[in-house]
């Protein structure tokens, strides 16, 4: 694994607090290795986008950050990932608690077969975040508002979440993640199943959420990475080839492979 090109000191001093710090992360699916020692620091209250060709390991890395890979039997993770001051792969860490702190939004909108209200209330309910009914209503309303969905659904909170349009469903899923007040939100290609208008709305939302949350987003769209993220990491064949401020990655990439990828020569 080559060492990361050190970011110059002037930029480094501008960097914010580090929220998540990954060191030498390796992932095996059975005998097949998917990540080969990935180092990445994720800054607080910033949007970090992970780009790269299909199968490069960016989604795998994202799923390491809240241990969603635990649900896959044959997957084993090595290295260290620190969230604040805990190593999330420490056996003492409670996965349930971790996932409450690091929420996730998936590629395909996956609302539960419940009402819109119950979809949002699900997380707070299982974590016991609300004392009573009015408390819960408050959380649901504010989550929907933060996700920019409230005005569209306020009259039909009792209707099933699956009845919404694709874009609304995805924002519902974001609202659902927000409702448990996580510190980090992971998004795995959140717009790939959406049309351009819905995509624009979700991107706008991501930009607003940055204020309160740290966001890591996997995307196949270079334009999307450029639009929504402040920092970008380029994955290739299970390694990070280059990482840095989005503007720099897209205007002056240091590595030839990055250059080739963002100009569409491969991937």
């Amino acid at each position: 694994m080559q060492d990361m090109t050190p970011i110059n000191t002037a930029e480094a001093s501008e960097r914010r607090a580090i929220k998540i710090s990954a060191k030498e992360v390796t992932v095996h699916y059975g005998a097949k290795q998917a990540l080969f020692g990935v180092d990445l620091d994720i800054e607080e209250n910033q949007v970090t986008s992970l780009i790269g060709p299909s199968g490069c390991g960016k989604s795998t890395f994202l799923r390491c950050l809240n241990r969603m890979n635990d649900t896959i039997d044959i997957c084993s993770v090595g290295g260290q990932i620190r969230l604040g001051d805990i190593n999330i792969y420490d056996p003492k860490v409670d996965v349930v608690e971790l996932r409450a702190r690091v929420g996730m939004v998936f590629q395909k909108p996956n609302p539960f077969p419940k009402s819109i209200f119950e979809n949002i209330a699900y997380g707070p309910r299982i974590h016991g975040l609300c004392r009573d009914k009015s408390d819960m209503e408050e959380v649901v309303v504010s989550s929907l508002q933060k996700a920019g969905l409230f005005d569209e659904v306020k009259d039909r909170l009792d209707e099933p979440g699956t009845g919404l349009s694709g874009g609304q469903q995805q924002r519902l899923c974001i609202a659902r993640a927000i409702a448990v007040s996580p510190e980090v939100i992971l998004m795995d290609e959140p717009c790939s199943a959406l049309d351009p208008i819905a995509t624009a709305k979700v991107e706008e939302l991501i930009d607003e959420l940055r204020e309160n949350y740290t966001i890591v987003i996997v995307t196949h769209s270079m334009q999307q990475a450029a639009r929504v993220s402040q920092r970008t990491a380029f994955f290739h064949l299970g390694n990070i080839v280059e990482e840095g401020p989005t503007e720099q990655i897209f205007t002056m990439p240091k590595d030839q492979r990055t250059q080739d990828y963002i100009t569409g020569r491969f991937g």
């Binding site: 649900t71 996932r99 998936f106 539960f112 077969p113 699900y122």
Partner: protein, 522 residues
């Protein structure tokens, strides 16, 4: 020639036609197959269909119609022959013959035959059978023997016996003449059959063969016939169901001639009182109250479901969500073996193991549980139902999209919270359907109940007592030497159709639930 041989001939002719048609199609374009509208095989199939299908349909129609036609020929002839024979023997007017009553011992034999034939349908059936037998026998005789018979030189009965046709009694002249008529009708029908088949085969073959041109859309024409064939196949299943229901319905209606609807559906006493030898056949026999049987059925099914639903559902959840692949690979087939055990085996498991065990266990804690009880039958039936619920539910739970699990786990829910709050609600319609299907099996189950719950039709809410079910009573009403027109046996059909409608209702309800909620979740 038997119909099977005729079918074989039709098939061979059509196959030859198909081969000819295919080569004609290829020949028409000098081997440039790609310029044909359809692949060459379709031209062959086209000829095959047009040669075989009309001929086969004609044959089927003729074979179905022939017995009815023959019957009426024989009937008309016999009627006339008996009547004129009777008049001749009485040698007084036709009007006198017409007023003879059945059972008039003084009338000559031929007149008694005629009156019986005129008035009794059963007698007509019998005579028709005899005529068919004689006709079959006559067809076996050679010319020589026939002349001897005609001349009255030999008796018909020994001659028939010689040919392997046993007649119960000596046959009268009208029957013999009717048999000749029948043979005439048969040979006419055969002539029609062979002639018609020949014409149809030839016409079908030539009509289709000569139409073959490169531009002929053989593929589309064949395609249309495939559709018809599929429709026929599915309508056979439907028509069979209709037939079963109708046959049960008519017998049940017969039953309701003897017993009023209200007494059957709302009666609380089941006491059919079998007629024994010597007792007068009468309408006073028995009470046919459905309620004790229905209650027994429902009670046992309820106990069975109380056993099967939790166990089956938990097993399904374990299989779908927790079991590792190797465990699942072993455990799932083993669970499904349960479904392969014949219910009679469950029955004696209940009889020799569960029943005595429950009785003894009950006795040791001061409960009096009879060896044949609702509990025994329900428990064993519940075991039987486990694989139905677990296997179906397993499939349904596994079909819940992984994205829903991820979504819930990603919010920090534990596995069991995810299952309880997301997966089971999503799978609920399917699970309910599997439970209802299991219920309809429980209701239709017979052998376990016969052996484990007994045959006493009690109306009791005590699960430690013996009850019986609708199916058991159907069996016991139809076992043994019975008269088929007494309410004691006909009640079986009324029970059967009641059961049919109950399970039908359950199945329709299950399908309705599945359909209503399915789209919502995927």
């Amino acid at each position: 020639m038997s119909p099977l041989w005729l079918l074989a001939v039709i098939f061979i002719v059509a196959l030859t036609g198909a081969i000819l048609g295919r080569s004609r199609a290829i020949g028409a374009v000098d081997g440039e197959v790609s310029t044909l509208h359809s692949r060459p095989g379709y031209y062959g199939s086209y000829v095959f269909i047009w040669t075989a299908i009309p001929a086969a349909l004609f044959m089927a129609a003729l074979l179905i119609a022939q017995p009815f036609f023959n019957r009426s020929v024989v009937h008309d002839h016999l009627f006339g022959a008996y009547e004129s024979g009777c008049q001749r023997s009485l040698s007084f007017g036709k009007s006198n013959a017409a007023i003879l009553k059945a059972g008039d011992e003084n009338a000559p034999q031929i007149c008694r035959d005629w009156i019986e034939f005129r008035d009794l349908e059963t007698r007509q059936d019998l005579v028709q059978g005899v005529v068919r037998n004689v006709a079959d026998g006559l067809a076996l005789l050679n010319k020589d023997e026939l002349t001897k018979l005609r001349a009255g030189l030999v008796a018909i009965r020994p001659m028939m016996a010689q040919k392997g046709i046993a007649l119960a009694e000596d046959v009268s002249a009208p029957i013999v003449s009717a048999a000749y008529r029948l043979n005439d009708a048969r040979s006419r029908a055969n002539f029609l059959l062979y002639g018609g088949l020949g014409i149809l085969l030839l016409a079908g073959f030539l009509g289709s063969y000569l139409r073959i041109r490169p531009a002929l859309r053989a593929r589309n024409l064949v395609e249309a016939n495939i559709r018809i064939a599929l429709i026929i196949a599915s309508s056979i299943a439907v028509l069979t169901t209709v037939g079963i229901v109708l046959s049960m319905l008519f017998e049940a209606l017969n039953f309701f001639d003897h017993v009023p609807l209200v007494d059957f559906f709302f009666g609380t006493v089941w006491d059919p009182r079998f007629q024994s030898v010597g007792r007068q056949v009468s309408s006073e026999g028995g009470q046919f109250g459905l309620l004790p049987l229905l209650w027994g059925t429902m009670f046992i099914s309820l106990v069975a479901l109380l056993v099967a639903v939790p166990i089956g559902l938990f097993a399904a959840i374990y299989m779908a969500e927790y079991a590792t692949r190797p465990i699942r690979a072993v455990a799932k087939p083993m669970l499904e073996i349960l479904a392969g055990i014949p219910t009679i085996v469950y029955g004696f498991f209940a009889l020799v193991t569960v029943g005595p065990f429950l009785r003894d266990a009950g006795a040791s804690i001061g409960l009096s549980i009879s060896a044949n009880s609702v509990l025994t039958a329900g428990f064993v039936m519940g075991i039987m139902l486990i694989p139905f619920i677990s296997s179906l539910s397993d499939d349904i739970i596994s079909a819940v999209p992984q994205s829903l699990r991820d979504g819930s786990l990603g919010l920090g829910a534990t596995k069991s919270e995810t299952i309880k709050q997301v997966i089971l609600p999503a799978a609920l319609p399917g699970i309910v359907a599997s439970i209802l299907l299991a219920a309809s099996r429980a209701i239709g189950e017979t052998m376990i109940v016969v052996m484990a719950a007994g045959i006493a039709a009690n109306l009791t809410a005590n699960p430690f007592e013996a009850v019986t079910t609708v199916t058991v009573k159907i069996v016991s009403q139809l076992t043994g030497d019975l008269e088929f027109n007494s309410p004691q046996t006909l009640v079986a059909f009324a029970l059967g159709i009641t059961l049919f409608f109950i399970t039908l209702g359950l199945n329709v309800f299950a399908l309705h639930i599945v359909r209503k909620y399915r789209e919502q979740y995927d």
